[in-house]
């Protein structure tokens, strides 16, 4: 088991960490999810038939585990909302995200895009991460997500539109703030 783990770690760990981090934006949660991914992978490695590439297989498991995490988070949030009977304010509740030190070092523009990613749906976000941060091509992204390439392209297109609008809004707000001051 250790050998399998080491091989997977050497080949994919940083990519895997990166993908999950940008989905959840929390290092602690990322560490937990990555661990969960490895457990699932190691338990089912003997059943891996090689129908897709190892990397694609690993990332599709990562995707499922990450989405399980989101579902869990949503359930918790709903319970919380019911308990306090909160309305819209409660819907904006996030996991206790702590900005990583890498974020602090970013310039304003990069911080904006980092923040704007949160305006995308989870589907849009994962396409953006896989395509641009992870540098997967459209075919590989489609394989990981088990989608058609058309769906990847359409989602990518919409995600870029959301980001574009968010960046424009941030820019306008920034300009308005400068004019006021």
């Amino acid at each position: 088991m250790k050998t399998t783990f080491e091989e997977l770690y050497d080949k994919y760990h940083q990519d895997l960490f990166q993908y999950i981090f940008y989905m959840v934006k929390d290092k602690q949660q990322t560490e937990d999810i990555v661990q969960e991914v490895y457990i699932k992978v190691l338990r089912s490695y003997q059943h891996f038939k090689g129908e897709s590439s190892e990397k694609t297989w690993l990332f599709s498991i990562a995707r499922h585990v990450t989405f399980d995490y989101f579902r869990k988070l949503k359930r918790q949030r709903n319970k919380f909302l019911e308990f306090f009977n909160w309305g819209k304010e409660g819907e904006t509740l996030q996991s206790d995200q702590q900005a990583p030190e890498e974020y602090v070092m970013l310039d304003d523009r990069m911080k904006q895009i980092y923040q704007c990613m949160e305006r995308c749906s989870n589907d849009q976000k994962q396409v953006i991460i896989l395509r641009y941060i992870q540098d997967f091509n459209i075919k590989e992204t489609a394989e990981i997500l088990n989608w058609s390439t058309s769906k990847v392209k359409t989602t990518q297109h919409r995600a870029l539109k959301v980001l574009q609008q968010c960046m424009m809004t941030s820019l306008r707000e920034e300009e308005g703030y400068h004019e006021e001051s």
Binding site: Q14, E31, R43, Y132, K139, T149, L160
Partner: protein, 381 residues
């Protein structure tokens, strides 16, 4: 005002520059955590198993009791069962036969699949392509009017040694319903980015506004793709009076904003055709026009009429085109549609088109990636 470069390309650049977030734990740390978690999971599942043991046992006992009661009561059913056992025996033979049949069926199914694949290959080979994305230097261009003169058919000859007078060796103009405005009666010589042209005595185009407009467009289709900006006419012809030409120096206007539809004459050959008059300001409007047939001019739509079209600029040179129609599939109509859009998009200044039509590959086109546009239209090898 700052230049914020708020376009998709810039966005992608920013996304690519997002920091690489590193996991600072060591490989061993992670492995130990995984091992600990797996052990813990095992322990939990064992505990869970011991908890469920009692109700499982109770359920099994109840099931056994019910089974014994039913067995004791239902004699007629046991008779039926023995009959059905006999039937089962005969089924064994049948099954053996079926096994033989199954393997035969499988073989024939495999053969069928193979045949289908072969047919598919043939279909792919049989697709007729009207565009080429090859080296432009090997191509020569000509353009002809349709029979009624409402459309222009640009032709690309993929032979660097081609001379305009040889066109009859490549295509039968009359048979294809094409009309030469008089190109073969002009001698052209290329001098870098300039063309020197001489009207021969046989050039007979009547001077008129319409004829001049068609003449202008034919020249644009012929020399625009070569990057030629002007033609120097060495002698005079009255047609030149129709335009604002000084010193017989004729500027070539680029081919812009032109939708391509299908021209099909009596012999059944199909060619991409551009209207001689009227352009559309946006690609979307051009694509919508490409859905409309003009039977009076032997013009068919290059995009199926029921198609729902969405377009959006991706970057300065790339456009996203989403099309949905019941007619889209692995067929010649779809090939024609893709090629017509590529040719049209080129006249709107796009270098690439990203298609979303629900198919990833058709013929030679990999639609999972952006496809290069081209002005090499209606190719003849």
């Amino acid at each position: 005002m700052k230049n914020h470069k708020s376009n998709d390309e810039h966005l992608k650049e920013l996304l690519r520059k997002l920091p690489k977030i590193e996991d600072k734990r060591t490989k061993d740390d992670i492995f130990q955590q995984i091992q600990a978690q797996m052990k813990q999971d095992k322990g939990t599942s064992r505990k869970k198993r011991s908890f469920i043991w009692v109700p499982m046992l109770a359920t099994a006992c109840a099931a056994l009791l019910i089974f014994v009661i039913i067995q004791g009561q239902d004699f007629s059913r046991s008779y039926d069962q023995s009959t059905s056992e006999m039937a089962d025996d005969s089924d064994v033979d049948t099954f053996d036969n079926a096994d033989g049949e199954t393997s035969a069926t499988e073989e024939s199914r495999e053969a069928e699949i193979f045949d289908k694949a072969e047919i598919q290959d043939n279909i792919n080979e049989e697709y007729r392509y009207l565009l080429d994305m090859g080296d432009e230097e090997d191509a020569s261009y000509m353009a002809f009017l349709t029979e009624q003169g409402q459309h222009i058919i640009p032709i690309t000859i993929l032979n660097s040694n081609f001379s305009y007078h040889q066109i009859n060796e490549y295509i039968d103009l009359a048979e294809n319903g094409l009309y030469d405005i008089g190109i073969r009666d002009i001698q052209f010589e290329r001098n870098n980015q300039k063309i020197i042209a001489t009207f021969t005595d046989s050039f007979e185009l009547q001077p008129s506004g319409n004829n001049y407009s068609s003449f202008e467009k034919v020249l644009a289709f012929m020399f625009g793709p070569l990057g030629i900006e002007e033609i120097q006419f060495e002698n005079y012809h009255a047609i030149l009076d129709e335009g604002a030409i000084s010193n017989n120096l004729y500027p070539i206007s680029p081919v812009e904003q032109v939708p391509f539809k299908i021209y099909q004459y009596n012999n059944g050959s199909e060619w991409f055709a551009a209207k001689t008059d009227g352009t559309f300001k946006t690609l979307t409007r051009a694509l919508e026009d490409m859905k409309i047939a003009e039977p009076e001019f032997n013009i068919q739509p290059s995009i199926p009429e029921d198609t729902v079209i969405e377009t959006e600029d991706q970057t300065a040179g790339q456009v996203f085109v989403s099309l949905s129609s019941a007619q889209i599939g692995d067929n010649q109509i779809t090939i024609q549609m893709i090629e017509a859009i590529l040719a049209t998009a080129s006249t709107y200044g796009y270098q690439e088109v990203m298609f979303s039509i629900g198919i990833d590959q058709i013929g030679k086109y990999d639609l999972s990636e952006p496809i290069q546009t081209t002005d090499q239209i209606n190719i003849i090898q």
